[in-house]
């Protein structure tokens, strides 16, 4: 399998604070890799280093076999970045925006016009090409944001939370666009706060926390390895005391008023230990193994709770 992006020992310090430790990651050509992590996990810093926006403190970035540090022009030409923000000129038309962004990649004249038409077609905005961007809906602006990262036909496209604030129709359109891009051979890195998006789109998922990748694999692998089945409990009384009692009989994570418990030898000893402390169990629910439970097990936090 050919590597489209290789990050080796990649890290970034801001003064005394380490945003990303020393990260190793290989993204294979043609795959969609999901990058998940709570706020402050280091996702955006990693993406920024991988795309040449931020200079790494240590480590190496290789895009399509070209080292970013030694030949930034060639490496960057292979990459398209769709930032989290709407990185567009709102006062200009879609065509004017994309023509300018194409020029940054040395694409001018007739070829630029063809690429602009192609990119607008991919995101379904061909009929609004001449309209001023500020007249677009939020979802259309998000789609144009993707087109601006696509207009030079990159081999690797990095999408940083591309569906923030969009309506379901536009979200579906963006999903379809990402799938079509993968079918056409473009490698995609996709970050999102929406677990179901990552589950629906990505071939593999890297979970980041505290500036490091804490797990990497297919969704099936991650669920099998980290999302062990268990129960969710709601108790009335001191939750910390209940958690301490339950820890003797399994792995316990706490989220708000809920204890998630993966028992080592059945649920009965857990319930007995909690009730022995004098507390009442208000709710008990069996938990399915999902990517979300794997994420919780790895980070101890829910993705959207910290967004």
């Amino acid at each position: 399998m050919t590597a489209m992006l290789e990050l080796t020992g990649l890290g970034k310090d801001y003064g005394e604070r380490t945003a990303v430790k020393a990260l190793d990651l290989t993204v294979t050509k043609g795959e969609i890799l999901g990058l998940l992590g709570p706020n402050g996990a280091g996702k955006t810093t990693t993406i920024s280093m991988a795309s040449g926006v931020v200079t790494p403190t240590r480590g190496k970035v290789v895009i399509g076999g070209v080292a970013l540090a030694s030949d930034p022009r060639a490496a960057k030409a292979k990459l398209g970045l769709v930032p989290q923000d709407l990185a567009l000129y709102e006062e200009l038309s879609a065509t004017q925006n994309l023509t300018f962004f194409a020029a940054l990649y040395g694409i001018h004249g007739k070829l630029a016009a063809e690429r602009v038409d192609w990119a607008l077609g991919v995101v379904g905005l061909a009929d609004r090409a001449k309209d001023i961007v500020k007249t677009y809906s939020g979802g259309m602006q998000r789609r144009l944001n993707i087109a601006a990262g696509l207009v030079h036909k990159p081999e690797l496209l990095i999408l940083d939370e591309p569906t923030v604030g969009v309506d379901p129709q536009s979200r579906n359109h963006i999903f379809e666009t990402v799938r079509k891009l993968r079918e056409s051979g473009i490698t995609v890195i996709y970050t999102s706060y929406y677990m179901e998006e990552v589950e629906a789109l990505c071939d593999r998922v890297a979970i980041m926390d505290g500036g490091a990748i804490v797990a990497l694999g297919t969704i099936g692998e991650l669920v099998a390895k980290y999302a062990g089945k268990g129960v969710e409990l709601e108790v009335t009384g001191d939750l910390d005391q209940a958690a301490t009692a339950a820890r003797a009989h399994g792995t316990v994570t706490r989220e708000g008023n809920v204890l998630r418990i993966e028992p080592t030898a059945g649920i009965a000893p857990v319930l007995a230990a909690i009730e022995a402390t004098g507390m009442t169990i208000a709710r008990i629910e069996s938990r399915q193994a999902t990517l979300e439970t794997a994420f919780l097990a790895l980070t101890g936090r829910g993705l959207r709770d910290v967004a």
Binding site: V53, A74, L81, A87, E91, T99, H108
Partner: protein, 364 residues
């Protein structure tokens, strides 16, 4: 990439009415208002009226009135009573007036009354007062005043080229406002950087296969060119519509404009290196530019400022630009060599702003 940046900035400028107004319409409005306020030059066909009251057939009063009418820039306006004249001055219908008493006798302290608002600034009052007193003295001189030979000859000192004969108000207001408003390009530069950082477009630029220096130059060059277009428009309008003359070399005028445009653009880079949001820039930078404009004499002649204010004025680039422009516009024969000090000063300011801006500028 730079060509695409220029085109993009022009598209953006054409869609931004506020910026178009501040760069092109506002300076024209200022030129017209200031040019019309200082009614001299092309407007000098309307002399300033000076009120006069004297007894009918008072020979000395008639002599003063006649002399006022013979003085360029003044016309005598007779009033029926002294109080009517004083009332006109008090209500600002007149700048000044002369009341010649029947018992006029300077030897015994019976003087002509010059009715004028003594509260008005000396810069405004002084020239009128001096000229009117001089006119009275000539009218009442015992030495056949109208036949008196010329005693004083105005002459430009060596080192300065002779000015053109007809210096209109627009010779002053066009360069003054051109220099003042050219610096507003600095605000546009700083705002565009802030906007691109805010929206994430700057990230896109950094992720593109464009060297960082080129991304920076690509942002600055369009604004340098817009400033040149702005200056060309204002001086073109001044010459074509308002009768402004270029007494010296047109090449010197163009070089001064290029140096000024570069200086304003580099100042924009410096401002943007301090960061800040678009709103913060929009509320603070105009104040800085207006203060610099005031110190440099863009709105009020430096000639009339106290010495220490003139010294402070030398520390802002607008002063140098204005001095250069004024020499080229009013002094016949002023060439590139004559404005070399101004060109060097503006280049030094540009370099200073650019180096300080680059030192502070945060790409990431």
């Amino acid at each position: 990439m730079i060509g695409a940046s220029i085109l993009k900035e022009i598209w953006l400028l054409l869609r931004d009415r506020g910026r178009l107004i501040s760069l092109f319409a506002l300076p024209v409005a200022f030129m017209v208002v200031f040019g019309s306020m200082f009614k001299f030059g092309p407007d000098k066909g309307k002399p300033r009226p000076i009120g006069v009251w004297h007894e009918v057939n008072d020979a000395r009063g008639v002599a003063v009135e006649t002399q006022l009418n013979a003085t360029p820039g003044f016309v005598a306006k007779a009033y029926p009573t002294p109080d009517a004249l004083r009332n006109a001055v008090a209500h600002e219908d007149l700048a000044a007036g002369l009341i010649i008493p029947t018992d006029f006798d300077p030897a015994h302290g019976k003087l002509i009354e010059l009715s004028i608002d003594e509260a008005s600034p000396i810069q405004v009052r002084g020239p009128i007062e001096g000229a009117v007193i001089g006119t009275v003295m000539r009218a009442l001189s015992p030495v056949a005043p109208r036949d008196m030979p010329q005693l004083v000859m105005p002459k430009t000192p060596p080192g300065l080229d002779k000015p053109i004969d007809d210096i209109s108000a627009f010779q002053v207001t066009v360069p003054g406002n051109a220099v003042l408003f050219a610096f507003f390009i600095a605000m546009a530069v700083a705002i565009t950087f802030a906007h691109e950082r805010h929206t994430g477009v700057w990230k896109r630029l950094l992720a593109a296969p464009v060297p960082r220096w080129q991304a920076l130059v690509g942002k600055l060059v369009p604004y340098f060119l817009i400033a040149m277009v702005q200056l060309g428009f204002l001086f073109g309008l001044g010459a074509g519509v308002f009768g402004m003359k270029v007494a010296g070399s047109v090449l010197a005028l163009v070089l001064l404009s290029a140096a000024l445009a570069a200086c304003a653009t580099c100042f924009g880079l410096l401002v943007s290196s301090f960061g800040g949001t678009e709103r913060q820039i929009g509320s603070t930078v105009p104040v800085v530019i207006l203060v610099m404009g005031l110190l440099s004499g863009c709105m009020f002649p430096r000639l009339l400022m106290p010495a220490f204010m003139k010294q402070i004025g030398n520390a802002v680039p607008q002063s140098w630009a204005l001095d250069g422009y004024y020499a080229v516009l009013v002094r016949a024969g002023t060439g590139v060599a004559d404005v070399a000090p101004q060109l060097i000063a503006l280049t030094a300011f540009s370099l200073g702003f650019a180096l300080l801006g680059l030192w502070r500028f945060k790409f990431e």
